[in-house]
């Protein structure tokens, strides 16, 4: 298990300071959904982001994932400010820094499990080396899908698809994985299995995780919990189940 938040702070991987996000800026129906969120996630942390529906979790995750621009504030990854970067620069940082796990798996249905996992390397290099293919096989084997590498997503169960998504997010060993309701679409058994897998991969690879979840059981098993209500961070502390 990683160290809890109360202990000596880990080196900062990302820092958000006074982040605001408004939609329909300048229009009569302008609405601010994040009201100055500040937070810091250190390297190797496993953090849960909870909150009721409409609290701004997905928006915050999109901003952290460089998929949406913030309206105001500061966001630094590895000490580098990303506010004001253009699409190409943000895409490059997303590619090199982040892995994504979505609620509905979001695998490419035309590609096999192995091809889905090799896709990030193919995207980056334009080709897949033998070493990269072996690495993808190893990661798939590590998530328990050694026998299903050639299967298309449609041939896999929901839990298996999510494990492929986790393997894809981790294959290039990014410093941070963002998971948006990764177990939201699974039954309890599969949900526990997938969450346990994420924790195991976290322990093995020391990758930071920011996991959006509605499930208090799972949040309790994270190192730290951030709670967002009405676009404001109302709680930032060690999870109930965290060691220490």
């Amino acid at each position: 298990m990683s160290a809890p938040a109360a202990q000596a702070p880990l080196a900062a991987l990302l820092e958000l300071d006074g982040v605001r996000k408004s939609y329909n800026v300048g229009l009569p129906n302008e609405a601010e959904v994040l009201h100055g969120v500040s937070l810091r996630i250190g390297r190797g942390e496993f953090v849960a982001l909870i909150g009721p529906s409409g609290s701004g979790k997905s928006t915050l995750l999109n901003i952290v994932g460089l998929l949406e621009h913030m309206t105001a504030g500061s966001y630094r990854i590895d000490g580098e400010e990303v506010m004001g970067l253009d699409d190409a620069a943000l895409t490059l940082r997303r590619r090199n820094t982040l892995g994504f796990v979505f609620q509905f798996h979001h695998l490419l249905p035309a590609f096999s499990a192995l091809e889905n996992v090799t896709l990030p390397a193919l995207m980056r290099e334009g080709r897949i080396t033998t070493a990269q293919r072996e690495r993808a096989r190893a990661v798939l084997a590590a998530v328990g899908l050694g026998d299903a590498m050639g299967k298309r997503p449609g041939e896999l169960s929901g839990g298996m698809q999510q494990r492929v998504a986790i393997a894809r997010a981790l294959v290039l060993e990014p410093p941070l994985v963002l998971a948006d309701e990764p177990t939201g679409n699974l039954d309890t058994a599969s949900s526990d299995e997938v969450f346990a897998l994420m924790r195991r991969m976290h322990a093995e690879l020391h990758t930071s995780f920011l996991v959006v979840t509605h499930d208090p059981r799972l949040a309790a098993r994270c190192d730290r919990v951030l709670e967002l209500v009405d676009g404001r961070l109302v709680h930032d502390g060690a999870a109930a189940g965290a060691a220490g």
Binding site: N62, T91, I128, R168
Partner: protein, 406 residues
């Protein structure tokens, strides 16, 4: 190069299998129509030109027409004078110094062959029958290089010794003569008789009914132009250079130069109209092809929004997404082109098998030249890429966060 883009593009196309097959077949149909029509019109025009020029020179040099000039000095400036002159009847006249002109013309790179000719109107007489004829006095070997006369012989052997002649097939029927028979020729007040050595089919019934070909010297005697030539027939390396060369020669020398295009102005206008119509049809078909590819790719972008969003979230650049869809357009265009060329060959085969003349042979020769096939295929592929530009730009501009949320 483009390993990621090509992999994703081909998978997207394979995933939408029926959609992909339908659009490839659509492109193939368009390419087949364009290639087939192009080959058909090229064949038809070549055949028409070949038949037209089979019995005439590409360019003819002849003396300028006689004109009557007013026998008074021009009016002084500022005054006008009404003068009426009677147009002069044209008499047979020889090209001055034509013997010197022949080697000069033969030395020109555009000219393939030169043949002097004495032509005049006359009558062919046999027994009670007499027929109006077009008399042509030629040097057989030279004239053969102009109209390939020997290949048009349908009976007898082409030979033009003194006292011999070659006549058109229909004229022989009208006069009731066969190879070896004698026919009387009358021009003005001069008459002669010749032995028919061959009957020819010049490809046009009216020509066959009027043509009498005799040795140059015989014609010179009959027309009263000893040592003269009323015209010089030229065959050119490139038939389409005839008009330019005619203009050039007319400007350079005091002769009348007439190209085959001037002699067949209506035919050339018809061919041009045909070419324009074909170009319009080809253009419309290619526009339909472009719209077909574009509409399928627009639908594909909508269908693949989520996948595009995932790829963008994973770090695919806008350029990579753009190229994925451009490649799809290129692949559809290229595969459709290849299939279209095969279809065009099939259509051509059907045409040559079933569109037959009264002699049981194809109406005319029609082939799909490799260069034409390649050009059509290349244009269709480029059209495929162009058709993909708008959908590809739309895909590249998709907001990844929004696309994933759907």
């Amino acid at each position: 190069m483009l390993g990621f883009e090509s992999r994703v593009a081909t998978r997207f196309l394979r995933e939408g299998r029926m959609q992909t097959v339908l659009i490839i077949v659509g492109v193939a149909a368009g390419v087949a129509v364009v290639a087939y029509i192009s080959a058909l019109i090229t064949g038809l025009q070549s055949n028409t030109i070949e038949k037209t020029l089979g019995a005439q020179a590409h360019l003819t040099l002849s003396p300028r027409d006689d004109v009557v000039l007013a026998a008074r000095a021009p009016a002084s400036a500022g005054t006008r004078e009404l003068v009426q002159t009677q147009p002069r009847a044209q008499r047979p006249r020889s090209i001055g110094n034509w013997q010197l002109l022949v080697p000069l013309l033969e030395a020109m790179p555009e000219v393939a062959a030169v043949s002097p000719m004495v032509s005049a109107a006359g009558l062919a007489v046999r027994g009670e029958a007499s027929k109006a004829i077009a008399l042509m006095g030629v040097d057989l070997d030279r004239y053969d290089r102009i109209v390939n006369l020997r290949s048009k012989v349908v009976d007898g052997t082409a030979r033009l010794e003194p006292g011999e002649g070659i006549i058109g097939r229909e004229l022989a029927d009208d006069l009731g003569v066969r190879v070896g028979d004698r026919v009387g020729i009358v021009t003005g007040g001069v008459s002669d008789s010749l032995r028919v050595t061959a009957l020819v089919d010049l490809g046009v019934r009216e020509l066959n009914r009027r043509t009498v070909i005799v040795p140059l010297r015989t014609a010179q005697s009959l027309v009263g132009l000893p040592g003269g030539a009323t015209g010089l027939d030229l065959t050119l390396v490139d038939i389409w250079s005839a008009q330019t060369l005619a203009d050039d020669l007319a400007a350079r020398w005091p002769y009348k130069a007439e190209s085959w295009q001037q002699a067949n102005a209506q035919l050339v206008a018809a061919l041009n109209a045909q070419s324009v119509s074909t170009a319009v049809i080809r253009g419309v078909v290619m526009i339909v092809v472009v719209l077909g590819i574009a509409s399928v790719l627009v639908v594909s972008v909508v269908q693949k929004r989520r996948e595009i969003g995932i790829l963008r979230a994973m770090g695919a650049t806008q350029g990579q997404v753009l190229r994925i869809f451009l490649l799809q357009g290129a692949i559809v265009g290229a595969l459709g082109s290849a299939l279209g060329v095969v279809l065009a060959l099939l259509l051509i085969w059907v045409f040559t098998q079933f569109a037959l003349g009264s002699d049981g042979r194809p109406l005319f020769n029609i082939t799909l030249e490799p260069a034409l096939a390649l050009r059509v295929a290349a244009i269709a592929t480029v059209c495929g890429v162009l058709a993909a530009v708008a959908p590809a730009r739309r895909a590249a501009k998709l907001d990844p966060a929004e696309a994933i949320r759907l």
